[in-house]
Structure formats: structure tokens, C-alpha cells
């Protein structure tokens, strides 16, 4: 077999094999122990319930997906712009940054119902919840990045009479990219969790409920296989999202930053 196929197998093979083994053991164990489905479903039950309720599941996933994406986009834009603002002046940073920290510590569980009261039930509120959760790491990481510019490069820009804005746009922001990407990785996972927990706590119901509601409903109805299916869907969503961010990270940093460069020793 050719080289790239062999490399693919080398990377994907072991985790795939572990997965198959795990699923196999789970299926066998539940069958042998004859555990009731509503307590611990078999993988085959989970797959079946996912297929039986495919359109419902897909609907919930797409609602959560939309909320997550929107929340994430707003966090990124808000976080980066906010950080640029804070980084442009020490006084502004010192006056505003402490409040950003406070924002970070507010628990979603307390905030989500209030957001729903203010903004009404629906996608809008959950997007706001997801935004609130994803915003802080974006802000923090970007700010650290903007403040971590190499001193020599900064001097170089001074020597070449760069204006403050030129220094920000051409030096500090590109130099902060590794930190921004770090923030993206954290924030994307948090946005998924935030959206689902927000749905769960805010209790938006029916068709607009998303995965958080689907989980609530399945728990109420004791439709445990479907409950698991929803949980797995949530994981898949989180993983997919993370992979996209990872891909972007490689694309933007792969050529020049240690964090993404593949060494010869791999």
C-alpha cells in the first residue's frame, strides 16, 4: 500500500480499533447482564432510536448548531474587538478589564433564565447565553496576545516611525494570532456547552428547544436510548466544531508558528 494510505491508517487505526472494542464490550455486557434499556441502553438501542427519530434529532442538532455558531461568531468578534480596545490604552485596560473578569465568573445557570425573561424564549436568548460564555476567553486570550508582542519588533516599529494604529494593525494583531487561535479553541467548546446548558436551564421548549431541551424531554419520558443519542449528538457537535477551529489554526499558523508546525521527528 502507498505511503499516505499507510500514514492515514497509522493515525486513525488505533483510536478506531479502541472505539470498536469499547462499543463491542458495551453491547455484550449489557446483553449478558440483561440490564433494562431505560437504565443503560445498548449501543444498538441508541443507534436504533437515533434512526427512528432522525428528523427530530436533526432538528434539535440544527437549532443548537445555529445558536452555537452565532454565539461563537459574536464572541469572537466581540472578544477580539474588545481586546483591541483594551490593548490600545493602559488606562482603558485598567478600568474595564476587571469587569470582564466579573462577567467570566457569572454562572450560566443563574443567568440563562434571566436572559430568557428579558429577550423572550427562542434562539435569540440562547445565542446571547452562548455569547456570554464564549466572550471572556476570547477577550482574555486576545488581550494577552496583544500585550505579548516581541520587544525588538516593537522597537523596530518605533524606529520606523509607525503610528499607534499601524503598530496595532501590522504588528500586534498578527503577532497575537497564536493567542487568538488558542482563545478560539477554548471558546468554541464553551459555546457548544453554553448553548446546550442554556437551553436546558432556560427551558425553551418544543421545536425551538435544541439538544438541551431534547435531553430534558427524553429524561422526562424516560426515553433513555434517545437521551444517550442526544448526548452523543452533542459530543459530535462539539468535536466537529473543534475540528473546524483546529483546521483554521493549522491554516493560519501552520507556516510560521511552533504550535502548529509539524516537526521532522513526527
Amino acid at each position: 500500500m502507498n505511503h499516505s494510505l499507510r500514514r492515514l491508517l497509522y493515525r486513525v487505526g488505533p483510536p478506531l480499533a479502541a472505539f470498536v472494542l469499547f462499543v463491542g464490550i458495551w453491547e455484550a455486557a449489557v446483553r449478558i447482564a440483561e440490564l433494562p434499556t431505560y437504565l443503560l441502553p445498548k449501543p444498538s438501542d441508541i443507534v436504533k432510536s437515533a434512526l427512528d427519530n432522525w428528523s427530530r434529532l436533526l432538528g434539535s442538532v440544527s437549532t443548537t448548531l445555529v445558536e452555537t455558531i452565532l454565539g461563537f461568531l459574536f464572541s469572537v468578534v466581540g472578544g477580539v474587538l474588545g481586546a483591541i480596545l483594551l490593548a490600545s490604552s493602559k488606562i482603558i485596560e485598567r478600568s474595564i478589564y476587571p469587569y470582564a473578569i466579573v462577567l467570566q465568573t457569572i454562572p450560566i445557570v443563574a443567568v440563562a433564565p434571566i436572559i430568557v425573561i428579558w429577550f423572550g424564549a427562542g434562539v435569540r436568548s440562547i445565542v446571547i447565553v452562548a455569547f456570554l460564555i464564549g466572550f471572556c476567553p476570547m477577550l482574555s486570550n486576545t488581550l494577552i496576545g496583544l500585550n505579548s508582542t516581541d520587544k525588538n519588533l516593537k522597537n523596530l516599529f518605533i524606529l520606523y516611525n509607525a503610528t499607534k494604529w499601524q503598530t496595532m494593525w501590522r504588528l500586534r494583531i498578527p503577532a497575537a494570532l497564536p493567542y487568538i487561535v488558542g482563545g478560539l479553541k477554548i471558546s468554541c467548546s464553551l459555546c457548544v456547552i453554553g448553548a446546550i446548558v442554556g437551553e436546558y436551564v432556560a427551558g425553551v421548549g418544543g421545536g425551538q428547544g435544541g439538544l438541551g431541551y431534547a435531553i430534558t424531554y427524553a429524561a422526562m419520558r424516560i426515553q433513555t436510548p434517545y437521551l444517550f443519542a442526544c448526548g452523543l449528538a452533542a459530543s459530535v457537535l462539539g468535536i466537529a466544531f473543534y475540528q473546524i477551529v483546529n483546521f483554521l489554526s493549522r491554516k493560519w499558523l501552520g507556516s510560521w508558528h511552533e504550535s502548529e508546525m509539524r516537526g521532522e521527528n513526527e
Binding site: D150, N152, L153, N155, L156, F157, I158, L159, Y160, N161, A162, Q166, R170, L171, P174, A175, L177, S255, W256, H257, M261
Partner: protein, 250 residues
């Protein structure tokens, strides 16, 4: 024509350290001057003051008849540091064109000038490469190319070859001489702790000693250019090096 004048320049830090004491110097157009001395002798401090990065506590510095700030604003002086200080995310060409980009010159002009200076340092084929793909010596060449793009009257170099191996260093020394000679009257101020390097390159050497940092001796190296390998292995070369080392001991 005089391009640089230091008149009784001193720099004392708030904690009492005297980095530079009473430096007096006149540099003419087209000279290649080296500042040689051990660490702490004040050579880098003088560099910083001439560059306008730090302010002297006494004395006067005049560049091309004006202040250091003015010279910088006019892009009349340019700099090369020991670290190449390239933007890792930008290509060689973009790195080199930075001074022009900051002056908001049109893109076409940036590209033309970038090509010109890359040719000067022999890196025309690497215009699109990224810094991490280059060796230490090549990165230093990019740094030099960048410093040349705005056609400066005075080039300040602070131990630019200090981090490189001997062979690369000698190659770059030759290239530097070649570039300097081809330039129309560019003055070079070169800071180094390496006596051999100072003798090979300069027409005048300022030996500095520390505690307090002062210019203890001026040595004229009246050997004509171009200087080649044979100069390096000549008796004259050794004599000058000897002179420098002797002065360093005082």
C-alpha cells in the same frame, strides 16, 4: 561632509551607573566606523542614543545638521540589530518592504524596491519564503536588506553578526563591504566586540572601555578598499588587531 557629531555626550542611569562618559566624535560621510569594546563599555548605549531610542543625560548629538528625532522621521538613518527581528508571519518580501509600507508608499513601488534590495543581498529567489525557512545567515541578510530599502544616509549596526558562525560571519562581512562600496556615500556605524571584525571592516575604529564607558582611543585603519582574503592573513592586519587589543586593556 560631517554626518554625525557627538559633543560631550554622557548617559548616567538613575541608579548611578555611568554608561557613557563624555563621548566626543565626528563622523564624515561615507566612513565605516566601528565601536569596539567588551560588554558594559557603552557601545550599545551610544547606538541607542544615536538611534533616538534613549536620551543622553548630557551633551549634544547632531545628525545631518539636525536632531536624532528629525533624522529618524526623514528615514535618513536605518538599523540592523543582532537579532534579525523579522515578522515570522510575513514573507521575506513583506518583511523587507516594511519601512516603505509604514510610509504608505504605493504597492508597486514597495515591490520594486524590495526586489532591488533582495538582489543586493543575493536573496532574490527567496522573496516568497517565510523567515523560519531560512538559515540564520539568510535571515540576517533579510534584516540588512530591510535596512537598506529606504536608501538611508547612515546605517547603524549593533553586533549584527554576533549570533552567526565564523564562516557565515566572514561571508556577510564581505557582502557588507561590497554593498557599502556600491552605495553612494552611505555612512556605516558598526558596533562589535570582535576586534578582527572591526579591523577588517572599518576605516576608523573607536575603542571603548567600561566603567565608566568612554572612548579611550581612535585607530585609523588606512588600508584601501576593496579588502579581500589576503588582508585578513596579512601582517598589517595582525598589527592593527594587536593595537586594538592593547587599547582594550586600558
Amino acid at each position: 561632509m560631517q554626518v554625525l557629531r557627538l559633543d560631550g555626550v554622557s548617559k548616567t542611569y538613575p541608579n548611578g551607573t555611568v554608561a557613557v562618559q563624555d563621548a566626543n566624535l565626528e563622523v564624515g560621510e561615507g566612513e565605516l566606523i566601528s565601536f569596539v569594546g567588551p560588554s558594559g563599555c557603552g557601545k550599545s548605549t551610544i547606538f541607542q542614543m544615536v538611534a533616538g531610542l534613549s536620551k543622553q543625560t548630557a551633551g549634544e548629538i547632531e545628525i545631518l545638521g539636525g536632531s536624532t528625532g528629525q533624522a529618524r522621521r526623514d528615514n535618513a538613518i536605518s538599523f540592523v540589530f543582532q537579532e534579525a527581528t523579522l515578522m515570522p508571519w510575513a514573507s521575506v518580501r513583506d518583511n523587507v518592504a516594511l519601512p516603505l509600507k509604514l510610509r504608505k508608499l504605493p504597492r508597486k513601488q514597495q515591490e520594486e524596491e524590495a526586489e532591488r534590495v533582495l538582489e543586493l543581498v543575493g536573496l532574490k529567489d527567496h522573496a516568497k519564503s517565510l523567515p523560519r525557512q531560512l538559515s540564520g545567515g539568510m535571515r540576517m541578510r533579510v534584516s540588512i536588506a530591510r535596512s537598506l530599502i529606504a536608501k538611508p544616509r547612515i546605517l547603524l549596526m549593533d553586533e549584527p553578526f554576533g549570533a552567526l558562525d565564523e564562516i557565515t560571519r566572514q561571508t556577510l562581512q564581505e557582502e557588507l563591504l561590497s554593498i557599502w562600496q556600491r552605495s553612494k556615500g552611505m555612512t556605516v556605524l558598526f558596533v562589535t566586540h570582535n576586534a578582527f571584525e572591526a579591523v577588517y571592516l572599518s576605516n576608523r575604529i573607536l575603542v571603548m572601555t567600561p566603567r565608566p564607558g568612554r572612548i579611550s582611543r581612535e585607530i585609523e585603519v588606512d588600508v584601501p578598499y576593496p579588502r579581500g582574503e589576503q588582508f585578513r592573513s596579512s601582517a598589517e592586519f595582525s598589527r592593527f588587531v594587536g593595537l586594538v587589543n592593547e587599547s582594550l586593556k586600558h
